[in-house]
């Protein structure tokens, strides 16, 4: 039944579309006309990284976890504070922040993943609220609502320009994207989908459900932390707004628009969610209404999002091409005594 509500994942045998997307990402800065457009492109990749983790967790494994913004914020804060408080370099701070988030998500995952459906959603939402409360209230440590400044990335003693930062973010996004794609197309991806569709059946088939769920949670948290670090080096600041509701709303909107449980959904959704407010600015006071209508139309007519539309079409075409297969099955059946 679950397979009817969540699109099945096309297991494309090729990585070519992923490489094409990344090639477009490399070409993008040379096509854009201003630094502001480059900033928007960076935000697209940052949200894409964040949502790829969420996609693995919710879209492929069926774990409704709303804690991603908390890990996004913790990653950003850890990256900033390891540098400013412990004097670490950016690379070691980056590794340190990912390790910290991995350990934290493991500790949180152990008790929380016993919960299912909306109970898990509520518990992880509570974790996000707690994290946000700590970031806001522990003023001496986190800087309160002002947050923490992130030291600018440097190369040879000089701050790296926006173009350089774009390529740093693109490199991280590419690594996450290729890994995301690899997971989806591998046996691990199939195990994740089996858990999503029926945990008991997956267990009966030999999938180590608890271990798998925990691994995906940690992975998703680490991806969120990478996104948090990227946001930090882009904006040179992390503050409690990283784990506020608007981030969660953006995350869910990307999922709706891009397509849950799809290969390219996180990127397509991020493009729409980052660019749309800039395009709708012309509508003035009606901007929010138009934005809401747009999302509503997606929900009504494209429930699997843009990527779902493209990938399912591709998948259907492939299935149509393979029509002789059922005939073979029938013949085999006829041969049975």
């Amino acid at each position: 039944m679950a397979a009817n509500t969540v699109p099945g994942a096309p297991r494309s045998p090729t990585i070519v579309p992923v490489l094409v997307v990344l090639a477009l990402g490399i070409a993008l800065p040379f096509l854009l006309t201003s630094g502001f457009h480059l900033r928007l492109a960076m935000l697209v990749w940052i949200y894409a990284i964040l949502c790829m983790g969420f996609n693995l967790l919710y879209g492929y494994s069926g774990q409704i976890s709303l804690g991603s913004p908390a890990f996004y914020a913790i990653g950003g804060y850890a990256f900033a504070m390891l540098q400013t408080m412990l004097g670490m370099g950016p690379v070691s701070a980056f590794v340190g922040s990912l390790l910290l988030v991995a350990v934290l998500s493991l500790l949180i995952g152990l008790p929380l993943l016993r919960l299912r459906t909306h109970y898990l959603a509520m518990a992880t939402l509570a974790f996000m609220l707690v994290q946000n409360g700590v970031a806001n209230r522990w003023i001496n440590f986190t800087g309160g609502q002002s947050g923490v400044a992130v030291p600018p990335l440097e190369w040879g003693g000089e701050p790296i320009g926006r173009m350089g930062i774009y390529f740093v973010i693109l490199a991280l996004a590419a690594a996450v994207f290729i890994f995301h794609d690899f997971l989806i197309r591998s046996h691990l991806g199939r195990a994740m989908q089996a858990i999503r569709d029926d945990e008991t059946a997956a267990q009966a088939l030999g999938v180590k459900v608890t271990r798998m769920k925990l691994a995906v949670l940690v992975l998703s948290a680490v991806m969120a932390a990478i996104a948090g670090v990227c946001f930090g080096i882009t904006s040179l600041r992390v503050d409690p707004s990283l784990s506020e509701f608007h981030v969660l709303v953006s995350l869910l909107t990307i999922v709706v628009v891009g397509g849950l449980g799809t290969r390219f959904g996180p990127i397509l959704g991020s493009i729409i969610v980052v660019l749309l407010p800039q395009l709708l600015h012309e509508f003035g006071e009606l901007e929010t209404v138009v934005y809401g209508l747009f999302i509503l139309l997606f929900l009504l007519f494209l429930p699997h999002g843009l990527s779902g539309l493209l990938e399912r079409r591709e998948w259907r075409l492939r299935r149509t091409e393979k029509k002789p297969a059922p005939a073979v099955t029938r013949n085999l059946k006829e041969e049975l005594p």
């Binding site: 201003s34 630094g35 502001f36 457009h37 900033r39 928007l40 935000l43 409360g133 806001n136 209230r137 003023i139 309160g144 609502q145 002002s146 947050g147 904006s235 040179l236 600041r237 503050d239 409690p240 707004s241 506020e244 608007h246 981030v247 980052v274 407010p277 800039q278 600015h281 006071e285 901007e287 929010t288």
Partner: protein, 399 residues
């Protein structure tokens, strides 16, 4: 041979200089673009809309009169929807795409914090409006604040309580940044005046029932209650306080003046005291609010139009500044932004529509904002929330 080479060098240098001078002479003057980047929807929509209207009250007549040196001021507006990341995007768009000379906005603190980062990154002057966060102008270079920091409200409250011999106060605040930083700064300032905080209660901003926290306030039996809410939850707090017959003076910095709070609280809001950065007993301030009401509809006292108006007044003064004009005419964008920053400190010590007749803005000082002392008067919610009355704090807080 040597002389010929020298001659060639000199000729090339002279030609280069002429080209540079020519380019400067024919450089297109910069457009006078300023951006209002603030909430016009979201939790601080009222403040953003009112400040924009206040700003227009300065810019529109100026443009109708021909602008500055024949150039009209172009006002671009962006709605930040209480989303700091969207605010950072719009701020960057203003600086880099619109070639804005100045950004005005940032009523919610989170939005203001985002804009501060943009201002520092892009070296664009920023006039912050209502944000209460205490440190947005600490070590500031490009940013200046028109709204007082929450610490300044707390100084005014602690002063008034101390002068009236009040020794114990109960604080109730919501869990969003305004509530948290408001309560923290109040605790700090009250301690300086030896006033005890009998209890501090925090509730979720979306909580529908705040009676557990209000019961704790009642049991603490303090002499006055200090509330740091948003409008809707503020109304719930005051209703609960009244339902429980707690007859203590209630002080509600900032939010007590907001129309949304007064409408929702209705009769229960009567008597709530608010330290106000707007003194309507000043004739020029009363005139401003009269004009505002005629142009944009009825409005009770609110700091936002005054902040927008004051930001507009200073904007015009700095855009007319000789050094700023020189950079604008030369088409030097960064030069113009730096000149605006410097002109702001030169022209920025003034008494505007906010503050009292004695205390105004001190942009030449390191904190780039209103003066710490004497900036506030007290007002009282009256007439079932329909109006705000000037009040003598001494009389209102008398035991």
């Amino acid at each position: 041979m040597h002389r010929i080479i020298q001659l060639l060098y000199r000729s090339a240098a002279t030609a280069g200089l002429l080209v540079a001078v020519g380019a400067a002479a024919y450089a297109e003057p910069l457009k006078l673009v300023i951006c209002h980047v603030d909430d016009r929807s979201g939790s601080a929509a009222d403040t953003g809309i009112e400040s924009l209207n206040g700003l227009k009250m300065v810019i529109d007549p100026l443009n109708e009169a021909g602008g500055i040196n024949g150039q009209k001021v172009e006002l671009i507006t962006y709605d930040t929807k209480t989303d700091p990341q969207l605010a950072a995007n719009f701020g960057t768009r203003c600086s880099e795409d619109d070639k804005g000379l100045l950004i005005i906005g940032g009523s919610p603190s989170a939005v203001a914090n985002s804009l501060v980062t943009v201002a520092n990154q892009t070296k664009t002057p920023l006039y912050i409006l209502a944000a209460a966060a205490p440190n947005v102008t600490d070590n500031a270079e490009y940013q200046f604040r028109f709204g007082p920091k929450v610490t300044q409200d707390s100084i005014a409250v602690a002063d008034a309580l101390s002068k009236n011999g009040i020794k114990s106060v109960a604080i109730i605040n919501n869990s969003v940044p305004f509530g948290i930083s408001g309560a923290a700064s109040a605790t700090e300032e009250l301690a300086k005046k030896n006033i005890t905080v009998a209890t501090q209660q925090t509730y979720d901003v979306a909580a529908t029932d705040v009676s557990p926290q209000v019961i704790n306030l009642m049991q603490a039996d303090a002499e006055a209650i200090l509330v740091y809410p948003y409008p809707a939850d503020g109304a719930r707090v005051i209703r609960t306080i009244r339902q429980m017959d707690i007859d203590k003076p209630v002080i509600m910095p900032r939010v007590g003046m907001m129309k949304a709070f007064r409408d929702l609280a209705a009769d229960t809001g009567n008597g709530v005291l608010v330290p106000s950065s707007v003194d309507t007993t000043r004739p020029e301030v009363a005139e401003l609010f009269k004009k505002y009401s005629e142009q944009f509809g009825p409005l009770a006292i609110s700091p936002s139009p005054a902040q927008g108006y004051d930001a507009g007044t200073l904007t015009v003064a700095v855009l007319k500044d000789e050094k700023v004009q020189a950079a604008i005419q030369a088409g030097d964008l960064q030069g113009a932004r730096d000149a605006i920053r410097d002109a702001t400190t030169r022209h920025g010590d003034f008494v505007g529509m906010q503050g009292t007749a004695q205390s105004g803005y001190k942009f030449s000082k390191s904190h780039h904002g209103p003066t710490d002392e004497g900036f506030f008067v007290f007002v009282k919610v009256a007439d079932d929330g329909k109006s705000l009355e000037a009040v003598d704090a001494a009389a209102a807080l008398k035991k």
